[in-house]
């Protein structure tokens, strides 16, 4: 190797350094890397600390009281002497609003994600994305304020009418579709086209009338409902669903995008319509990613504090009947937020520790959900790469 020496003639190869220098260099690099590692591990340390410090203050509750009181009784009178700490109704309230919001957010979120990934042209998608980002960015307390000040009075005054309109708008198109598809399926075996057409028409008329009657009946029933308080589980579920939507939409959209374009083309080339392609190939292929999205969305609803604290009514009881979303409920997060102010004056009391027990419960649930969704995403990636 011909080197042009620039004064340092004693070395032939400028890139060969003394072994000592090399060792020092390596050690410095190694030390720097370790420092980086230490700083990066901070995240893990924080997670451990969170578990430790929440658990540390939660365990005394179970020593003072018992698991069975916490999980199986629903009498919540923490201020009494002696206090009663049955959290069942509160846990139930949390589950109720989480489930309620999931029932709204999951179908809507998946539909919107499909729309973004497969249906809308790019020019419109550009505008739809910021809408979702803004929905995600609005602080939860603003949603809570809206739920309390705008939505709750509306629900209380015009609840029946609102329910009826929502029913009509949602149920009517689906019923029409259902009737048409049902009639088609019923007559699909008839060979003679003219006869099939006749029977099809007859069946559409018959089922159409039947279901229109049903729609109307349910509509009037809903209209007659009087909502006693606007701060109830329904209100919170609706608002929470809009907070969970952005998560569901963006994670499911990623999962749908991960299903390649070639698979879509394969299905179209066989003569599938867009809906068939999506339902029969893309959704099954992306199902686990979508499941992960749903889990993440549910976690958002479960962990949300401000909306439920402001607009759920904060009444610790299991509604009558158990599925009555029009009653006020109370959730874990709202209880922690609301009671800590009174309880932390007396650190060490069961009243203080019970809140940490609730926090620990939330933490454990969210930890499990996270692990599961992570597993699922990894599995989907493996399946799609064909292993």
């Amino acid at each position: 190797m011909a080197e042009e020496s620039c004064g340092e003639g004693n070395r032939t190869n400028t890139f060969v350094v003394s072994s000592r220098k090399r060792t020092i260099q390596k050690a410095v690099n190694r030390a720097g890397e370790l420092l980086l590692l230490a700083l990066a591990s901070f995240v893990a340390v924080v997670v451990l600390f969170i578990f430790y410090f929440v658990a540390r203050d939660a365990v005394p509750f179970f020593e003072l009281r018992s698991f069975s009181e916490f999980f199986t009784t629903s009498e919540w009178y923490p201020a009494d002497e002696p206090g009663k700490f049955g959290a069942l109704s509160i846990i139930y309230g949390s589950l109720m609003v989480t489930l309620g919001s999931a029932m709204i957010a999951v179908p809507m979120g998946i539909a919107a994600a499909i729309c973004l990934s497969d249906i809308l042209p790019f020019s419109i998608r550009q505008y739809a994305k910021p809408v979702i980002e803004m929905l995600a960015a609005i602080p939860s307390v603003a949603f809570g304020f809206f739920a309390l000040v705008v939505f709750a009075p509306l629900l209380q005054d015009k609840g029946g009418a609102l329910l009826m309109w929502a029913w009509w708008i949602l149920a009517a198109p689906f019923t029409v579709l259902f009737v048409i598809v049902l009639s088609d399926l019923l007559t699909t075996r008839i060979k003679d086209p003219a006869r099939r057409k006749q029977l099809n028409l007859l069946s559409v008329l018959l089922f159409g009338l039947l279901s229109a009657g049903l729609l109307y009946r349910v509509g009037t029933l809903l209209h007659a409902i009087e909502i006693l308080t606007g701060t109830n589980a329904l209100n919170v579920s609706i608002i929470l669903s809009f907070m969970a939507l952005p998560t569901i939409v963006s994670v499911s959209e990623d999962a749908l995008q991960a299903v390649g374009r070639d698979i879509r083309e394969g299905s179209y080339a066989l003569g599938a319509t867009r809906a068939e392609t999506i339902v029969k190939t893309i959704l099954p292929a992306a199902s686990s990613g979508i499941l992960a999205a749903v889990i993440l969305g549910i976690m958002r609803s479960l962990g949300e504090t401000m909306v439920v604290w402001m607009a759920s009514g904060n009444s610790a009881h299991i509604p009558e009947p158990w599925f009555n979303y029009l009653e006020a409920i109370r959730t874990l997060t709202a209880t922690i937020a609301g009671d800590m102010g009174e309880a932390d004056q007396v650190t060490g009391s069961a009243r203080y520790h019970v809140l940490f027990a609730m926090g620990l419960l939330l933490l454990v649930i969210s930890f499990i959900c996270n692990l599961v969704s992570e597993r699922i995403v990894v599995r989907q990636r493996r399946i799609l790469s064909g292993q």
Binding site: C115, F145, D184, T273, G303, M306, T333
Partner: protein, 448 residues
């Protein structure tokens, strides 16, 4: 299934998808429109002479001479009201004791309503609370109070099976035959002469501190508190997050330990915000004792932990988006790995990292649950920069909750609440918007 049905299903499928996006957009509108319109009402409104009085004596703002003439002219009309009231008082004194007992509570209500409308009556003792020192400062509130003066709210319980219904009874009827009857039409007709409404732009809503727990004044302490908390959180989380991201992208090899770190990161991202608050209380305040009790620093640290995963993820993505060729080019020119990261990769990834940072800043500003136990107080004045280590602060997010749910006059100060929500939402959305713009710029730049 025949083809027509298949096509129909296809089309309905499309419309369900589009429908759900439209519903999301509508929901955004439905939430934002009342917040924006009512929130602007905190700054732009029809103010009365009482508002000007309040501004002059509480904030020493406004033209005192002009105000004096306004007060003089309004007092001329008010004097008659006071005359009528004292006239009725003397009339009542001449009545039989039974009739006196009948009229006294009713008259008391009238007097309270007039006080609420016009401020303390002449000869009243100086009120203790500032809120009673002035009449209605906003015209729309004055109209509500006028209604209270003219009508008595009663409840109809005649039907035992239905909920009792609200109805309004004319007050003048209950004073029929007395001199007070004239008061009601007089007040109704001379409202604007007594209160002198005019269109007001009250920028002080943003820059003033509050008077008598937000009955009057502005929201500066909250804005400042939010600023301190969010910026404080960024000071901790941003450098740490970027360093962690550099480690994850440039150094971490796929091993058990590193996958644990990644899991820890996503676990942290999934922890409910209220649990961060509990952790902040249990760790920063009760264990580390960074401060005696709630303080800005404890709140900032708690928020920092909360936004850390977001920053790490955004920074990771930004670093991974830097083309490999940059790295290779730099290394091939004889640069060390450190040097490459510091001079080539980080600068190239900076816009992306900043985007993540800006979004996290918005999140930190908007969160409530983590600061409930660690930093927020309901009422307080703006704190100095030196106090961040020891004293708590009011903050927009917390005070929105507090004013809307716990304030004793929550329904009276809706405009303040809306104003606060608008302030918070605009801060957060502006930050997000700038992030969106920043990102669009980056992608344009990367595309060339």
């Amino acid at each position: 299934m025949n083809l027509g049905t298949r096509k129909l299903l296809d089309r309905s499928f499309t419309s369900v998808g589009i429908g759900s996006i439209v519903i999301m957009a509508l929901a955004l509108m439905v939430v934002l429109v009342p917040i924006v319109t009512n929130g602007l009402g905190a700054v732009f409104f029809t103010g009365t002479v009482e508002h000007r009085k309040m501004l002059l004596s509480e904030f020493n703002r406004g033209d005192s001479r002009e105000l004096e003439t306004a007060i003089a002219s309004s007092d001329r009309y008010r004097a008659k009201v006071y005359e009528m009231l004292s006239g009725f008082e003397s009339e009542m004194a001449a009545m039989t004791p039974e009739r006196q007992d009948e009229y006294r509570p009713k008259y008391g209500q009238v007097k309270t309503a007039v006080q609420a409308l016009l401020g303390p009556l002449p000869g009243d003792p100086e009120p203790m609370l500032t809120r009673f020192k002035y009449g209605q400062t906003r015209w729309e509130k004055a109209e509500e109070k006028l209604h209270d003066l003219l009508y008595e709210t009663k409840w109809d319980n005649s039907d035992p099976n239905a909920m009792s219904k609200e109805y309004f009874a004319n007050r003048s009827e209950s004073f029929a035959g007395t001199s007070l009857v004239k008061l009601f039409p007089y007040v109704r007709e001379n409202m604007s002469n007594m209160l002198l409404p005019e269109f007001t732009v009250y920028w002080g809503f943003i820059t003033d501190s509050s008077v008598d727990s937000h009955i009057f004044g502005g929201i500066w302490p909250e804005i400042q508190g939010t600023f301190f908390l969010a910026v404080g959180a960024m000071l901790f989380a941003f450098p740490l997050g970027v360093i962690a991201a550099v480690y994850f992208t440039e150094y971490a090899k796929s091993g058990f330990f590193n996958s644990m770190l990644r899991s820890a990161n996503s676990t942290l991202a999934g922890v409910p915000s209220i649990v961060f608050g509990m952790f902040g209380l249990a760790f920063f305040i009760n264990t580390l004792k960074v401060s005696e009790s709630k303080s800005v620093i404890a709140g900032s640290l708690t928020l920092a932990i909360m936004i850390l995963p977001t920053i790490i993820r955004a920074a990771e993505e930004a670093i991974l988006a830097v083309p490999k060729t940059y790295r290779e080019a730099s290394l091939s020119l004889g640069s060390t790995k450190w040097n490459t990261i510091a001079t080539v990769i980080l600068p190239a990834a900076l816009p992306g990292i900043l985007t993540g940072g800006v979004i996290s800043l918005g999140r930190a500003a908007g969160e409530t649950a983590p600061i409930i136990f660690t930093a927020a107080v309901s009422v307080g004045s703006a704190i100095g920069l030196a106090d961040v280590f020891s004293s708590p602060t009011p903050a927009l997010s917390w005070n929105i909750y507090n004013l809307a749910s716990e304030h004793e006059a929550a329904a009276q100060i809706r405009h303040v609440q809306y104003g606060m929500v608008l302030a918070l939402v605009s801060i957060v959305l502006l930050l997000n918007l700038s992030a969106i713009v920043l990102r669009a710029r980056i992608s344009k730049k990367l595309k060339g």
